[in-house]
Amino acid sequence: MFNVTRLTLAAMIVGASALTVTAQGFTPENPECIAPANPGGGWDFTCRQVGKTMQDQGLIEKTMQVVNLAGGGGGVAFAQVVNKRNDDNDLIIAASAATSTRLAQGAYPGNNMNEVRWLASIGADYGVIAVAADSEIADLPGLLDVMKNDPTSISVAGGSAVGGWDHLKVLIAASAYGIEDVRSVKYIAFDGGGEAVTQLLAGSVQAFTGDVSEAKGFVESGDIRVIAVLAPERLDGEFADFPTAREQGVDAIGANWRGFYAPGGMSDEAYAGWVEKIAALYASDEWKEVMAANGMAPLDLQGAAFEEFVAASVAKIETISREIGIIQ
């Protein structure tokens, strides 16, 4: 089995690379992906999964080298790319809503989003708000009502730090519901979504804010109940049962997009090549399977459209952060 896989893989690479060379004119010699966090997180997953699938598809000839450059919530990698690797054509960097959150809050000191080129998205993870299976709270308005009347009685657990994306999602929902002082919402930061869900199961907290992919396993096992997904409309497949916040009268949308940026000095040819490759990856059936398995929703934006999307996302988060007093 091992040999067969290798052979097919080799055949695919040889076959496809012949195609790509003629079709695109740009093939990275030593493709490299920086995951701006330690191994094991979402960015690391983005780099490795995309690298693996691209190689399986024959979009790149060599194995994508994944470099973990942790620090400053992605700030170290951002600064390194801007200062030292500004004209590297073989390099892409994993990014997500956390990146735009930090850019919006000025948490990458001295850097802003225009110093790099935004390539494309590979999908989105819509936010969910969940409670334990045996909780008395029935739906999102029910939860927000309790929070409005007695903010001290509900602790919401999430995997990001205060001011991070998981925190902002629950604040978006709270402010959409008409809770004026969103600072009264009690948010407890844990080290990652997994730990936060565990604490929901343990009964230490009353609600959980995170991504679909973090909640997935526990919904299947019947341990937690998703009371709202922060998507414009219901998700596909096994997630179709989750009610959206919108259909419950709370107009809140929170998507943790995943995608890539590239160095600001990357040549137009290389930029176009990478955009095309990521688009081809996104269109492939294999990637559709990856997205389905991980509860990722479609978000198909490339090149200029993606750049606009990130800019809008940064502007929006800046407004919310100012409202809740995280930035002045």
């Binding site: 080298q65 620090g71 600064a79 602790s155 991980n294």
Partner: protein, 511 residues
Amino acid sequence: MDTLSNLADGFVIALTWQNIGLALLGCFLGTVMGALPGLGPSNGVAILIPLAFTLGLGATPSLILLTSVYYGAMYGGRISSILLNIPGDEPAMMTCLDGYPMAKKGMAGEALSLSGISSFVGAFFATWGLILLAPQLVKIALLFGPAEYFALFALAFMTLGGVSSLNQAKSAFAAALGLGLAMIGVDSQTGVPRFTFGEVHLYDGLDFLVAIVGLFALSEVFIFLENRHGEASGKGKSIVIGRLTPPMSMLKACTPTMLRSSFVGFLAGVLPGAGASLGSFLAYSLEKRLVDKDGTFGKGDPRGVAAPEAGNNAAAGGALVPMLALGVPGSGTTAVLLAVLLSLNITPGPLLFSNNPDVVWGLIAALFIANFMLLALNIPMVGIFTRLLLVPPRVLMPIVAMVSFVGIYGISGSSFDLLVMIGFGILGWVLRKFDIPLVPIILGTLLGNAMENNLRRAITIDNGDWWTLIDSPLSIGLWIVAVIGFILPVIFARKVKSGMQRADAEGSTKD
């Protein structure tokens, strides 16, 4: 019965030539990576992920390769702890305390073999624990809320006194210094950066590996430089290696220690917020409290080598419980393994055991195979490892310095980390001059953040009510143990004081 037939199926999956080859490769690479300061299990696993993908391995073979590396690194970490007094990774830190003094006494071979056997015992029982108890153990993890975690960390700190120094004040000073260093970085409960001076590299706090390599390895190099013309260059020749396998009597004396430590380590591994370092530390301090009647711990007591090694390897097995059954990583390495599972389209979590039984049981069978392989690999290699002691320091020390720099730069790719490492090296050199133990510093840095965060989580959840800390039977129990562990030695201190003073004169430099 079901379990056993599942396990048999697992062995059928795991016992192919390809898988055995991968396990052997993983065990060997893991041992080497564990032994090199700077490369720990989590980096070792991360480095080999591309290899697994390039070879086009399926889910089970990939996991077999990577978990073999994981177990191998947990074994390998002890080698440099014992021979050089430089821990190969965080959990191996406690092994320095008695392992290095044993090597100095000419018992390096025995210490290495004994620690290999203890590692085996710890990992063996942990794997059985994983098989038999995984579903039940998840319930234990769910008993721990923020208040209970805080009590657990408090327990670790309260039993710290006396573990690594005879001078309690110096130990306390070192722990406080470590706690202070832990405060560096963005505070996750408020989002405010502390002590970062606007330096973006410090936002995520200090990297423990950088701190360990600096404090232990580089300071060793500095000490050597300082003594270059004196005794250091001549000392290498006088080292005796001694016998390579421990006598039966030593094994017998260590058996209860190994069993107790396996249990403690396994429990610490199961708790997602605790991990292997806490496991080996608690195992060591428990043994010291229980069996150290003559005050020989810290001066080369074999039980002081057996306890942390059994503890940290059992914790490695224990950490797989929350990873597989909850999808929550119990340690840095399991976080990496979790990411691998996800990228192979396998969702760990409550349903993994029923959805992907072939992966789970193949993995468990592979753990057994890797464990026996590591034992078989490690015991004959003790003879080779101990040759390291014959290398004169003037050759060895430059190599240590080189491996430290290359290792740290290789992981982070950042020259800032190298500067931090040098800073810690100088700090370590100064502290050694004052006979201040280094282990509590690392423990403070390692556990300080988790301890602070859990305290603040607990208090915030209960709206500022401090009584929440002693709100459940479990936390009350943990506090009682902590208080007893803290007070008992103070009461008994007078009794053994004379013995201690005698030892103080000769033995306070063993950090």
